[in-house]
Amino acid sequence: MEVIVRFYGTYRTITGVKDFSLFTDETITIIDLISMLRMKFLKNNGEMFSEFPEGLISSSLILLNGVEINNIEGFESKINGDSEIVFLPINHGG
């Protein structure tokens, strides 16, 4: 299945990437995806994908196919089939 990951704001600035696809045969969760992103972007400050409050993740919206993950199963939300995941930072500007 194809998982399209879209970055906004600081995620784009830090990774240098706007969006990309990754392919997987298995069902994964959001937390699995975050681990993959941490490894993929380690040299670009992978710590931004830390799940600890100080990390960007705690101050972000993550949308799975247009639904905010806290309305599904949070970080345990399963990514089944072709999907789009959006990482959107919230702590900025006004």
Binding site: G9, T10, P53, S59, L61, P89
Partner: protein
């Protein structure tokens, strides 16, 4: 917060909260033909960062067919934030920016004869401000928590329609309505106490949902119903309304 025929100045930074607010107020305005909305943006002169935000503000106000006015620190005060970043007194850029931006918005709102000045402060902003006031011992700051605004001579009544809306929701609203907003933080934001308080409150809200709402409700309940008219006079330097002989804007400008 509003009357049906208000002329409403909306502070629009180009960020998610102010653009969401503008979007919502524009929708409501269409049902009240005697009301009017004017967007006001403030250019603090932060290179690249503010340029991008203003461009987004211009694009969206044009799309909504809303009049858009831009005022700048340079025109109003003779300086930009870049000029005060490395001041010898250790005053953070945010301290300058907050005070001068409030003055700029107020002046612009008076210039266009607005009845209300609406800003996109969210629940998170309100809770952060409450805590910052406590940490700084600023009792007066705690006593002026009136999101619906109060009429004070010389000032345009300030209202905060999004004051009970969590920042996550204003962000989600903007995103789902395809509002293009600036999504990077101010390059000087790291220097501020607000950033530390924000991280702390994020942690508290994650662990104890409802914390932000409780802080806001508590502060509103303890804000006494004081008469602000008594304390407003005029700055002896700039002639603007002030609660002291020299207003905070002039103090900061003198200090740099």
């Amino acid at each position: 917060m509003f009357e049906y025929d208000n002329r409403i100045a909306v502070g629009v930074s180009g960020g998610k909260d102010s653009l969401s607010l503008l979007h919502i107020l524009k929708e409501i305005e269409e049902e009240f033909p005697k009301s009017e909305i004017v967007a006001i943006s403030v250019d603090e002169g932060i290179k690249d960062y503010r340029d991008e935000a203003l461009s987004l503000a211009k694009t969206y106000t044009s799309k909504l067919d809303v009049e858009h006015i831009i005022v700048s620190f340079k025109e109003l005060f003779g300086l930009t934030i870049e000029d005060v970043v490395d001041n010898e007194l250790g005053i953070t850029p945010c301290s300058y920016c907050g005070v001068l931006r409030r003055r700029a918005l107020d002046k612009a709102a008076r210039m266009i004869d607005a009845d209300r000045l609406a800003t996109g402060h969210t629940l998170d902003d309100m809770a952060q401000t409450a805590l910052i006031n406590i940490f700084r011992g600023n009792i007066k700051g705690l006593t002026t928590f009136w999101p619906g605004g109060k009429k004070v001579d010389w000032f345009v009544q300030r209202v905060k329609p999004l004051c009970e809306v969590p920042e996550k929701e204003s962000t989600l609203f903007a995103f789902l309505n395809s509002i293009e907003f600036q999504s990077i933080a101010c390059p000087y934001a790291e220097d501020s106490m607000r950033t530390e308080v924000r991280l702390f409150l994020n942690k508290m809200e994650n662990k104890h949902p409802g914390t932000l709402h409780t802080i806001l409700k508590t502060v509103i309940r303890i804000a006494p119903n004081q008469n602000l008219h008594e304390n407003v006079s005029v700055c002896t330097i700039c002639g603007e309304p002030s609660t002291s002989t020299i207003c905070r804007v002039c103090e900061l400008i003198k200090m740099r």
